[in-house]
Point group: C2
Chain length 223, copies 2
Amino acid sequence: MWRLYQFPLCPFSRKVRLLLSEKGVGYELWRENPWDASDEFWKLNAAGRTPVIEHPEKNIVIADSRAICEYFEETVDRAPMINGTAIGRAEIRRLVALFDENLFAEVTGPLLYERMLKRIVHRQSPDSRILREAMKAAHGHLDYIDWLVDTRPWLAGATMSLADLAAAAQISVIDYLGGIDWSGHDSARGWYAVFKSRPSFRPLLSERMEVIQPPSHYAKVDA
Amino acid sequence: MWRLYQFPLCPFSRKVRLLLSEKGVGYELWRENPWDASDEFWKLNAAGRTPVIEHPEKNIVIADSRAICEYFEETVDRAPMINGTAIGRAEIRRLVALFDENLFAEVTGPLLYERMLKRIVHRQSPDSRILREAMKAAHGHLDYIDWLVDTRPWLAGATMSLADLAAAAQISVIDYLGGIDWSGHDSARGWYAVFKSRPSFRPLLSERMEVIQPPSHYAKVDA
């Protein structure tokens, strides 16, 4: 059985969970807090970050969310998520990088620091200036998602892909932390509502991080 | 003809240049400074970052260094760089992420900011505390490369791979900026010396960034 080392608000773990569920791969969740990672966890992953996936019986360990996704894409045929021509696959990977790197650096990461780490680890209040900047940056990313949704059936093209999973994973964490304002983003909102109703997404939406509670609309499919 | 939008000290552009040279793909270099990227460049890449590769005649644009590398791996058979079993490929991608993300965030990025951006854009002096921390982090990464080189022929396994190119690209920029101290890292130093003598590496080593000069040993193959 696969074991996924993760924590509830890690957007990269969420991306992997969505992929595994869409592909029908069973796994156990193992909690690992990045702010006090165990020595055992550092031995599994020199980068010291979630997610890491392990198959103890097969002696397999894979670290890094994109390496994990590419591995399951190569080994499980069901629900292909990096599919199509070489150009189409490049477009999927470009968008995954945009969401994993830019959206995370500008929005998800600062919100996680201000609203989760400061509360749990540093016992400090969030910096309202940083929160405002992150929410402004979120609007820019939602504008871009609006544009993608208005020009294509799914974010990277004709079919659902890892680009959709990567964006939805980041947005779900941002939304949990109160950073999403959908006003003026009807297209992106419609795309995300479709996602929220998928069976792969329901376990994420029902999970709670101790101490930190999401806004009331967070898990509602029609909100 | 392919056009690579890049700047001389961008480690991600260097990784792509090494891959293209190893694979024998011809390309032109187009200079794009990330601190004053043109509107045309933002149109090519919503992430606003180098590298981007374009083939105007074929109407192809690919942004993000890993998406570019995967594209050429899929379309050019020569010199495979993400090769082997699914597990082996996962190990290559894990290491690429470790060098692209951790080594960049802890060493290359801070050095580029302190020694390049502060000088060219902000007209400030580097912060010696940040430089010291970056060089300390560099030793940690060189320790890890020592360990990889001591246990495998190449960083990810039996053959040269994108993991070697990603590490060498970061290290070449760190070395240019005076951040590499090889003392105590004979294994990593030996691995890097082999790289420096490869034809794919020579063009990188002969290039200079205006204003900023590398240390005297930088381009020497035996240093």
